[in-house]
Symmetry: C2
Subunit: 322 residues, 2 copies
């Protein structure tokens, strides 16, 4: 019932090299051992595969029949094995990351660029979805890594903070607030604010936090997507309270960022994986890279690289479903 792959490999090598000695050398075993391997295989099969005179070796008709198949088997096998070992050694393979759109469009491209530079053979697939869908994707195994807002305690996920993204005020450089280094939330009352509509998770989070401090934001304008809000800000319509990471440095020269304090409110971006699952080497490498990259970039977010800027301006439907 037991398959003798050593015997088959031995047979193949002897047949290929036309002798036990050469084959034994190639396998780094003694001729004795090799001889017995073939004997064992033949005994097991009940067939003679090789006709051996004391001087030379020749395939029997059965052996001739078996040889090509045996060769393919051995090759397939060692090929697959080699590929797997390589996968482990070089952290190669494919990665699927589920990510909220904001991050996917603004922070992630830089990380992916670094990852691609380091692991040129690896492919990365990004699922840009909304928060719950990301969790589902990770839970189901569709994605190995998830990136999104810090969630309610989730026992079957293991999360790790990669970014604390403070809510700030974005305003035009001519806006009165632009001269201030920081503002308190209360002070916002005097400005016309552009608000994100209540369906946004960001907005919900913000309201919830502010509520604990007895503060309620009132928007004069309301839009659905942060990028729309930014556009309005750039046009001088008003100021907008948004996560800092919404705007990549440099993309809107006329827009200024003003810190909002008392209290400092941040949304926390985390990466998470399913508890108990082992990441593929490729995903593991991505995970590590993401952690290091974001941490070193600090809470202000990564600088917008050209790649990410391009992505941002070409966005078809920028939204904040996270």
């Amino acid at each position: 019932m037991k398959i003798d792959i050593d015997g088959i490999q031995a047979f193949v090598l002897v047949a290929e090299l036309g002798g036990f000695h050469q084959a034994a050398e190639k396998l780094h075993i003694s001729q004795t051992a090799l001889s017995r391997r073939v004997q064992k295989l033949e005994r097991y099969l009940g067939l003679k595969l090789l006709d051996r005179t004391t001087r030379s070796v020749a395939l029997t008709s059965v052996g001739r029949d078996f040889f090509p198949r045996a060769l393919r088997l051995v090759d397939d096998l060692s090929g697959s094995i080699a590929r797997l070992q390589d996968m482990s050694r070089a952290s190669s393979g494919d990665v699927v990351v589920a990510c909220v759109p904001t991050m996917a469009y603004q922070q992630l491209p830089g990380v992916i660029r670094a990852y691609a530079a380091r692991y040129p053979a690896n492919r990365v697939r990004v699922l840009d979805r909304s928060g719950v869908q990301i969790v589902d994707a990770v839970r189901s195994g569709e994605a190995e890594l998830g990136i999104g807002l810090k969630l309610a305690r989730n026992p079957d996920l293991v999360e790790q903070t990669i970014l604390r993204d403070p809510f700030v005020l974005y305003c035009h450089k001519d806006h009165p607030a632009s001269r201030r280094a920081a503002l308190s939330w209360k002070a916002l009352a005097e400005f016309d604010l552009i608000a994100i509509s209540g369906t946004s998770v960001n907005r919900a989070l913000l309201d919830h936090r502010l509520q604990r401090h007895g503060i309620a934001l009132r928007g004069r304008f309301e839009v659905e997507h942060p990028s729309t809000a930014i556009s309005l800000v750039a046009a001088g319509v008003g100021a907008a309270v948004l996560p800092a990471a919404t705007l990549l440095r440099g993309s809107f020269p006329d827009v200024r960022r003003v810190t909002l304090e008392h209290p400092l409110i941040s949304r926390t971006i985390v990466q998470f994986v399913k508890r108990g699952v082992t990441l593929s080497p490729a995903a593991e490498a991505f995970h590590a890279l993401l952690r290091r990259t974001i941490v070193s970039a600090g809470a202000g977010g990564i600088d917008g690289r050209r790649a990410s800027r391009d992505l941002v301006v070409s966005r078809k439907r920028p939204d904040d479903r996270d």
Copy 2:
């Protein structure tokens, strides 16, 4: 450098059955051993293939990747092995037999019929060639078995007599010789004989043997092929000296066979194989069957069965290149 097929099989089974216990049972080993096999494979690959909680087993992403390939490998392997074992157990496989035309058309069909009945799955290929080509075919391995005239001592072939085919006189039932049970060669002088042309190996053999007894055959008519000679005999033209096996019993009702003696001269048909080579089980079975069949049929040859008769009358170019 060593491939761990047991580990792969273990992995496949655990993944298929979703647990170590079930898999261990199926492999008839303890759960302990199975557990260690998978561990060893993983250590060897440097990868985790299975995420095992103490309660259940799940594939890692790498494992999911590897599983289909592993499955195919194991299946291919055990499939090939099984086929080979079957080949040995059931003497299955293909046979190539090189055979002189006379035998191929007259004696062999019966043997093949018996062989086909006994080994329904096996295919038989007959190379009907002349004497030297048969030897070459066996030498080169193109055919495993050769059937032909006994040859000059051939050190690299092993031969075995399967038929002694005496030269006899074939004559029409109205021919004066037909009433005799036997004739001496000398007595032939008084008859008009149909001779086979000198290029025939049979004729050469015959002349050579007769020469030692100071006898020379003189033909009034000369043809090239035995079957033509038979036709002439049937037409009452004359009598012909031919190997007994040339005519299958019953195919020419009006033709009689008369034994020729003083001396009895036979050609010897042998089957031979290359020295030192191991026959495939299929060929081995054919070899054994051929020996038993012919021996039991005796020197007179096998009765013509319908199959062989049909073959004979439909022959496009009956000759005696043997």
